[in-house]
């Protein structure tokens, strides 16, 4: 089922949780709402579910305005961060709950309920815990039961609020893969909220990036990672090196140093942010290259597959800290040492005008995923 939200606004006292958010979620996809805490992603999810009401704007489910309908009538499956399993009920009763609450006329027989519950428990690979109480399960198991419980009422959409947030790293990774496989099996339109960019990029078909109650970018994981639309998106997805500079002709000047991006179609003299990922920077030791930013190596961490070199900016970028990823062989070839002065030459550079973020986003475009 498709979900559409139009011009949603929500205010909590003086805090604006959502300002004019419009999004289109197509049928059958797994979409991640990604952003730092306080960006409004959970509020948006709760508004879609009907657990919270928007100050203005509409929620359309399957093209029909659902803004004024109660959670009960929206037929959404909601999974909470802390599971919210009923602790006085067994796993079986938890999963059966939704079916048993139906009005008598539409309620399935106890036999049908039993069959359905066992089928769902099999689906989440936990059919052997039916008689246990939630307190006897691990966090990962509880979340799977919570998911089975939400699926039991055959929801039209599945909404997950930080579903793996309360789990430890290893279980989180397992459940992530498991959720992806489950979605591939069921193809139910799903939205999940997360602040973990790795999780969003790994699991979702599409990623919606949010910040300060606004949508920053929408796209496939590859699109948003490869072509970030704003400085926020760039810095939120993965580690990043930031240069504060000014456009002068073809190049970006950082103090008296010069960075040469492929092309810059910004006006001469505009103040810019230039971004490069750690693996997109080369370290130059001899004076052969005139370009690049001067920096001093503060630390070399060479325990992984790649070596990480941390540097302090010199000249125009004093006070900045940079991070470069190169192979260990490269470190040896260049003979890098801590305390050495080098030049950083980005092989790929993204340049954003410094004021673009403020002016561009105020138009609140309708993002189609």
């Amino acid at each position: 089922m498709s979900i559409q939200v139009n011009n949603i606004r929500k205010q909590f006292g003086s805090f604006t949780a959502l300002q004019d958010v419009s999004l289109d979620f197509p049928t059958g996809e797994l979409v991640a709402l990604l952003g730092p805490s306080g960006c409004g992603k959970t509020t948006l999810l709760r508004i879609i579910a009907g657990l919270e009401s928007a100050d203005s704007g509409q929620v359309l489910l399957e093209g029909q305005d659902a803004s004024d309908t109660h959670v009960r009538e929206r037929q959404v499956g909601f999974v909470f961060q802390h599971y919210a399993l009923f602790r006085h009920m067994t796993v079986f009763d938890n999963v059966a709950f939704g079916m048993r609450m139906k009005p008598r006329a539409t309620r399935p027989s106890e036999k049908a309920i039993k069959a359905k519950v066992l089928e769902l428990l099999k689906l989440v690979q936990l059919d052997w815990v039916a008689d246990r109480f939630p307190s006897q399960l691990s966090g990962g198991q509880r979340q799977r039961i919570a998911l089975a419980r939400a699926l039991a009422v055959e929801p039209r959409v599945l909404l997950l609020d930080e579903p793996f947030g309360a789990l430890d790293a290893k279980v989180r990774k397992e459940l992530r893969r498991w959720l992806r496989r489950l979605h591939d099996e069921l193809h139910i339109t799903s939205i999940f909220v997360t602040h973990d960019q790795e999780e969003a990029l790994e699991v979702a078909d599409r990623v919606v990036l949010m910040d300060h109650g606004k949508v920053e970018q929408v796209g496939t994981p590859e699109e948003v990672y490869r072509h970030p639309a704003s400085p926020f998106v760039y810095s939120f997805l993965g580690s990043v090196n930031l240069f504060h500079g000014r456009v002068e002709g073809e190049a970006v000047h950082v103090g008296e140093d010069r960075l040469a991006p492929g092309k810059v179609d910004l006006a001469h003299g505009s103040e810019v942010f230039a971004f490069a990922r750690p693996h997109e920077i080369d370290i130059v030791v001899d004076g052969s290259e005139a370009g690049g930013v001067a920096a001093k190596i503060s630390r070399i961490l060479a325990f992984g597959v790649t070596a990480r070199v941390e540097l302090d900016g010199l000249n125009g970028s004093t006070g900045e800290v940079f991070e470069v990823e190169i192979t260990r062989a490269e470190v040896a070839r260049l003979g890098l040492e801590e305390g050495q002065a080098v030049r950083l030459v980005p092989s790929r550079l993204r340049v954003f005008e410094r004021n673009a973020a403020a002016s561009g986003a105020s138009q609140a475009p309708n993002w189609v995923i």
Binding site: A49, L51, H70, G77, F80, H82, A84, F86, F97, P134
Partner: protein, 279 residues
């Protein structure tokens, strides 16, 4: 050689603390109660039976236990509502209301009794309204009930309140998102969580009501066979220097109360087990 049957305990001082607990309990509770039984025993079975089952005393049992159970039940319902309102909503004067709940604890029971009597008597504020409607409260069993409800109120509120505060609204949201109505969410999700605490509150209110004396005797009117409570019967016998008779009634009362509290505790343990809280 260490015996293999004593398992290693993480918390030290088990023997000491158990010994202290038993000693303390004996001194404060068991020895006085044993003395009651001992004194009653001096009566011989025939006299004991006569003293404990005279018609007037039997009537007082009915009133005492009946009114106490009803009062505890009323307190369970309204105490739950009061706790709900205090936890779930915010309104001006909430702290004041919260403090007011404890007042029946703090008030000397005689003061409560006199105040209630003054209110519910024929010429009192409430009594003057109820009398023309044919409802007599003061000096009837109904008056006893009113006094017992009054003194039992804090127990249920104070036992349910912390549990309710711990109960995240997430559970109700989960229930509602699964299609449950407001009532179903309360009946199947909230209520079972609160039930053990509610039972505890009920038991405490009941126990307090059975033993209550001060606030009841003023409003009860103490009409033989109608509005005499068992503690009053005991006092009456004491005033007549019938110590053995008084203890006979006390023994019956003790046994009854103990059995009822035991049943309530058993019920609590049963629900706890059934809902996976205790293993």
């Amino acid at each position: 050689m260490a015996s293999s049957s004593t398992s290693f305990r993480v918390l030290p001082g088990f023997g000491l603390s158990l010994g202290y607990t038993l000693g303390y309990l004996s001194l404060i509770v068991l020895i006085p109660l044993a003395a009651v039984f001992f004194k009653a025993g001096s009566l011989g079975f025939e006299h004991f039976w006569d003293a404990a089952t005279s018609p007037r005393v039997l009537a007082s049992y009915r009133l005492s236990f009946g009114a106490s159970l009803i009062a505890a039940a009323i307190n369970a319902v309204f105490g739950l509502m009061l706790a709900w309102v205090l936890v779930r909503y915010s309104f001006p004067g909430k702290r004041l209301v919260d403090a007011l709940v404890d007042l029946p604890f703090a008030l000397p029971t005689a003061v409560a009794g006199i105040a209630l009597t003054a209110l519910y008597a024929k010429n009192g504020w409430v009594g003057s309204v109820l009398e023309p409607l044919g409802i007599k409260v003061a000096f009837t069993p109904l008056g006893v009930l009113v006094a017992l409800v009054f003194i039992g109120l804090p127990f249920v509120v104070r036992t349910v309140q912390p549990i309710l505060e711990d109960l995240d609204t997430e559970y109700e949201e989960a229930a509602v998102s699964l299609g449950a109505s407001r009532w179903q969410a309360f009946r199947y999700v909230v209520f079972p969580t609160l039930f053990p605490a509610l039972l505890t509150g009920f038991a405490l209110a009941f126990a307090r009501a059975v033993g209550e004396y001060g606030s009841v005797i003023f409003i009860a009117g103490n009409i033989p066979m109608v509005s005499e409570i068992t503690p009053l019967m005991i006092i009456t016998k004491l005033e007549q220097y019938d110590y053995a008779g008084a203890t006979a009634v006390a023994v019956v009362m003790l046994i009854f109360s103990f059995i009822l509290l035991l049943i309530i505790n058993g019920l609590q343990a049963w629900t706890a087990k059934r809902t996976g809280r205790a293993r």
